[in-house]
Amino acid sequence: MNYPVWQLDFFGGGLLVILIAVFHVYISHFAVGGGLFLVLAERKAHRENNPDILAYVRKHARFFLLITMVAGSMSGVGIWFIISLLNPAATSILIHTFVFAWASEWVFFLIEIVSLFLYYYTFGRMEHRRHQLIGWIYFGSAWMSLFLINGIIGFMLTPGNWLQDSNFWSGFFNPSFWPSLFFRTFFALIIAGLFGLVTATWIKDAHLRITMVRFCARWLLLPFLFFVASGYWYRAALPPELQQMIFARMPSMRLFVDGFFLCSPVLVLGGLLLAIRLPAGLSRSLAVLLLLLGQIYMGCFEFIREGGRRPYIIRDFMYSTSILTKDATRFQSEGLLRTAKWTRNQEINETNKRAAGRELYNLLCLSCHAIDGPMRDIKKLTAPYTPSGLDAMISGLHIFHRAMPPFTGSVKERGALATFIAHGLNGRSDPTPVQRAEKKVEIPPFDPKTDQFVLLAWSPLGMHSVAEVKGLLSLIPPGNTLQAQLIQRGETPEIVNQGVTLSYQMEDGFAGADEKTALSGVMMPEEDVFATEEKALFFVSKQGFDPYPVVTIEARDENDVLLATTKAVAPVPAEMGCSNCHGGSGGLNDRAGLSRATALNILETHDRFSATALLPAALSGKAIRCQSCHADPLFRAEGDKARLNLSASIHGFHANYLRGRGAEACAFCHPSSPTGATSGLRDIHTAVGLDCTNCHGGIEDHALGLLRHEQQEGKGQVNELMAHLTPNSSKSLDKIAPRKPWINQPDCLHCHVDYQPPETDTVTNTWTKDEQSLYRHRTDESGRLFCAACHSSPHALYPAENLDGAQLNALQPLQYQHNPLPLGSNRNCAVCHTVAMEDEMHHAHILRDFRNE
């Protein structure tokens, strides 16, 4: 953070280095191998006493001189220039550490120039052995240049003991020095053959042409075995984690690794083809093609080497961002803009946020990413993200993207960077707080003097989300049920479960999954409770976005006489935050539902990280259902036993991007935000200031609990997901209780012990022991009246309130007791009991005043 950053957009991401370096590396290896080629070709001419061959060698020497001196040395200077412009800090380290290696290389460069000029300009004027001696001196000095540069380049990839002792020799003779030297030497010989083929195929005399083409082809074929062997040695010399990174973990490397392995047999085959007699035109074309292929071959190798080094420019010492690894933590706590020398915006406020983001981009991203350019274009890569989504992504970027360094700035700086990229470059914004008009519902009448029945209905799923694109991807299919209990009022009220029919009718404007079916039907009795069959509900009515469809339930006797009517909401919390990071729009008003573009991005991301082929399968018409592979107790889906269950997998992965964010992390994906369109967490606990984490724990604990369960099941893949998650309720991972999704959940009684006011507002790591212990299955002391009948759905406990106002979420209390409190609160037993009640029933302390009215 010492130097100014040359602000490049299109040319950012190291494009200029690549343009110069890939070309230079090819020529410079030619300059080494070509030297040996010249002397051995000249020796052949003299041995065979063949003046035609000698004339060819002389011509080739001129070609060699022009190529290596003009293109080679100028592009070599170019590399010096460009690396100091794009990464001055790393260049400075290389210069200061290896100054005498560079200086020695300069000496050999000088010898190269003198000897090459002498070799070419004395061609035919000197006794041949003496002339060849000059050629040998040239080759020796060129190879020594390779020897010296190889030490420095190898140091960047495998600095070895230099990291500990800072010793010149440790860095120079680093772990990959020798294999790399041999690898490059054999590569240089092959390249010499490739260039030789180009000049040889231009020889007019057919006999001489085939002689020299075969001679050149041998330069491809003979060193090849040694080249391959040294390649394996080179690979084996790399630290295991580096090998894994290059050959297994980085999908972006695949193209170059495949390219390299594909080019090898093609080059050999090309060499063999040319060794047979081909028409001149064809052999010329093939020679030029092979030369270009050689450039690609070299390019692939250099990309693999450079790419494998990422996220470092000097491995384990300096990141590609020029930040020393030892400084990363300090910059995270102190902030980068304040620490870097060449910044204008050292403090971030609302007015300079974008400008500061640009400065952070220059410091942290520009070295590897272009804006609208060909090198890892940041706009394309971040197109799916909203500013807050990108902020989350950046916070965990290094965990699964092994080529990325950790973000080395403060949290505020991370936000500014995300804003600059996602909003400034891509024009995306975070969803703004929703202003929805309060939904008014006509409350059914209830006369406590005359009405004999109380009908109670609720949704057993409080914040059950919907995430499905029909025919493409189903994460959570739309579906909800209502449950109801009919109570006959009296001195001893009775739960009625026979001789009555309960029916339901969705409010106008909503339709079923096929978008035609009217949502109405009969509720089926299940002992004391009536339930709708699971219905696919959608959040869009003819009136627009509405996550809380109102359902009217009626109870009639066998003579179809209406006994009771009530209303309840059947929540459709479809406000998934997938589009924060997976692109597309969030459905209606950019807020709810899963769009096709989002689903495609999710599938593509899954394929990229898990080496699956879901996207092509989906595009070919096969709908992807997550539960097909990942077990999900909610849907009784067994999944593939070897894989993580769906909750563990999703939370385990995404938690790495949402660490340290409290309840905000939950609202990234779930409809729990109090300012969200759904405001799904709408019960009394929200009103008293609690949030998701008070009951569920922070995202780290939440994910770790799920992952620990899978770990106990012997699923080793959890280790990678858990590696960067630190428990937030405890210092020890062992204290995180393993849990199974949808079964081991928080429960009211964990805080409200014995139905008493809670002594704490937070209980984490304590879960229901089995499915039957869940709130939605719990009944009162009689074992017949469901808790939810009087208290409502999970996350909507009375008195519940959100953007829709207090009425919508407390329809039945308002109907039966003209207040939004739990039914029977403040000793209002008269809702069901026609005589005054003095004894506690249903649960302990029921006769107490409601505390949070």
Binding site: P4, S92, I93, M126, H131, I137
Partner: protein, 360 residues
Amino acid sequence: MDSAALIPTPDAIPVSWGWFQFFLLLTFFLHILLMNVMLGTAFIAFVSHFRRKAQTTPCTEVISGNLPFAIAFAVNFGVAPLLFVQVLFGHFIYASSILMAVFWLSIVALLAGAYALAYVYKYRYAQLGSSQLLVSGLITLLLLAIAFFFANNISMMQAPTSWTRFFDQPHGLLLNLADPMLLPRYLHFMVSAVAVGGLAIALFFHWKQKKGDQGAGPWVTYGCRWFSYATMLNFAIGLWFLVALPKEILTTSTATGLLLLVTLGGGIVLAAPAIIFGLASRVMPAIVCILATVALMILARSLLRTALLAPWFSVSQLPMSPAYSPLFFFLVFLVAGLALIVWMIRFARRSCTEEGEVHL
């Protein structure tokens, strides 16, 4: 914005700064001579092509034949001082290079273009005909542009107060045109190049003359005249440069100031007889005088940098992390390499038979 706060923190050097200063001055001296020969002879060739062909062909042909060598060696000898300047002043020159990155990087393309054209000029000299003027003009123009960018970078690296402009122009498009020293400095170097180029032509034909070439005499005079007139002109430009220097630099109250005055004075004093020798076509004495002048001027240039950077930095402040064994190996390579080069040249000269005869 405080310019001092922008100066990057330097990395540690492995041996005492004096070594690097020595190598920097030595290799820069060699580089500047070769650069002068390259640019000066290219310029002279270009101007010569305005005259009637027959009058100048012997000279321009020689220049065309040798220009690629001059470029090759000028570049090679430019690498070493660029390396050593990065060791001592990397934190200044990296910053200034980035500020003018577009121009700085364009040097590579300009140089490659000039080099390629030099080979065209050499190998297609006869075929070029009247296009010789165009090609030599282009080469000269490219080399002059490169030199201008170099002068800008050196000017900017020595003036951290000019760096704050980066915040309004971060695209690498800054030059330091506001520096009053820039233009006289650039012209001083360029006219020197023409002078030394002239002298190089004179020296070449002087050798030919010594080998018995009867027609070489006028070209010795031709080269010497270029040298002398250019050097005379350089007195005036040098005076302009002197006037443009910050007043506080030229002082006897500091060691740097005093040394600067002494080296400048020595250089000026030695340049006068060089002109006279040049006018008298006495090549070798002129060369001796001008080599001494160039050496003194390079010292003066280094002292000027020391003085300009004094408020910000001194090489003696560089942290050191001692590692002498690599220096030892470099010295061995350097001595052995130079010996090998000398041996090779002598070996080649001894071994060469008459031109055109091919040994099989």
